[in-house]
Assembly symmetry: C2
Homo-oligomer: 201 residues x 2
């Protein structure tokens, strides 16, 4: 498996990467407790994208596991979830954070957020997202209780844990290192950190 | 509470209704086991709409209950969930059915579906949806097990059960009587049925 350059997604920022069908992206939780909001769009038509509500219906499960096909809003496989070295707690339920979220949490100044990071990351490669789909929140630990109540847990991952997602179609992968520093969603220290990724051919 | 005309949403079809802030919509599960995919869009800007992923984050719960504020993708209250005579099993997890879903279930001819019903219902009142948001699936019974596995349950509602949703902003409410007749999501008979609604001032 040929590995190319290791690329940094700085803390609190977004990055987009083009994947050809057959290539994979390896996303490394370098410091161990950073949530990465993840999206994928068809390179041919950005209105087709990885969709959490279609994924749950297809898997008949809230959480995707390594081995699962990840599907779009047209129920086609966009990525194969090949590897996961973490305990497998990711999240499909929660929206990307946004300026509205931080305003409700008491922020009066602008706060970095995953929704704006998605749009900025795509603009950086000359594209525009038609919307902000519900993200696959890698390593975000949202336990669901019996009554359907959810909690904002700390990640169960450790430094160096990674996932490998292999493209089933030409697509654009987008990552945001979640800038949440008010709730302990990125660990008890509430300190967003950088992560790294590689494109694998 | 002034009640106006009782309006039918035929089986397998969609209808849209304009609500002014302060008005409410009462949706009646006339025959008792019909799932209604429900959406709401801001009348001023259709890119703001009731959003399941933002709702779950706000409620910190998978299911909304009577008494809850239902929020948009800008985390503003669009509707107040005022009344629910059913046991309260609705669904926020599953995508609206679509042609891709029915193709995967083996249909070779066109099958009515909630996604197309949304778009047709809005066109009928001169509007266009910017996308098909994840719906609030009224009376759709999706039990979630401890491992996060989901089931396609039959509705727990009975004939005449209703919900009342009161508009917190001028909005467009859209309903689709889910045409699913392959899985027992609309009851064991797999027979989609009409429902009715009223606008309450």
């Amino acid at each position: 498996m040929a590995e190319v350059e290791l690329i940094t997604v700085p803390a609190r920022r977004g990055r987009a990467a083009r994947l050809n069908a057959g290539q994979a992206i390896k996303i490394v939780n370098t410091h161990g407790s950073q949530v990465v909001d993840f999206w994928a769009f068809s390179a041919e038509d950005l209105t087709e994208f990885l969709s959490m509500e279609h994924l749950r219906a297809t898997l008949q499960r809230i959480l995707p596991h390594a081995g699962d096909a990840l599907v779009t809003n047209r129920r086609r496989t966009i990525l194969q979830f090949e590897e996961d070295t973490s305990p497998g707690m990711h999240d499909t339920l929660m929206a990307a954070c946004d300026v509205y979220r931080y305003a409700l949490l008491g922020c009066t100044a602008y706060h970095d957020n995953c929704t704006d990071n998605l749009h900025a990351a795509l603009r950086q490669i000359g594209l525009a997202a038609p919307e902000c789909p519900a993200p696959l929140n890698l390593w975000m630990n949202i336990p669901v209780g019996q009554s359907g109540r959810t909690e904002w847990g700390e990640p169960l991952s450790k430094p160096g844990d990674y996932v490998v997602l292999r493209a089933a179609m030409n697509c654009i992968a987008v990552m945001s290192t979640c800038p949440q520093d008010i709730l302990p969603i990125n660990g008890a220290a509430c300190t967003p950190a950088e992560v790294h990724y590689r494109i694998l051919s």
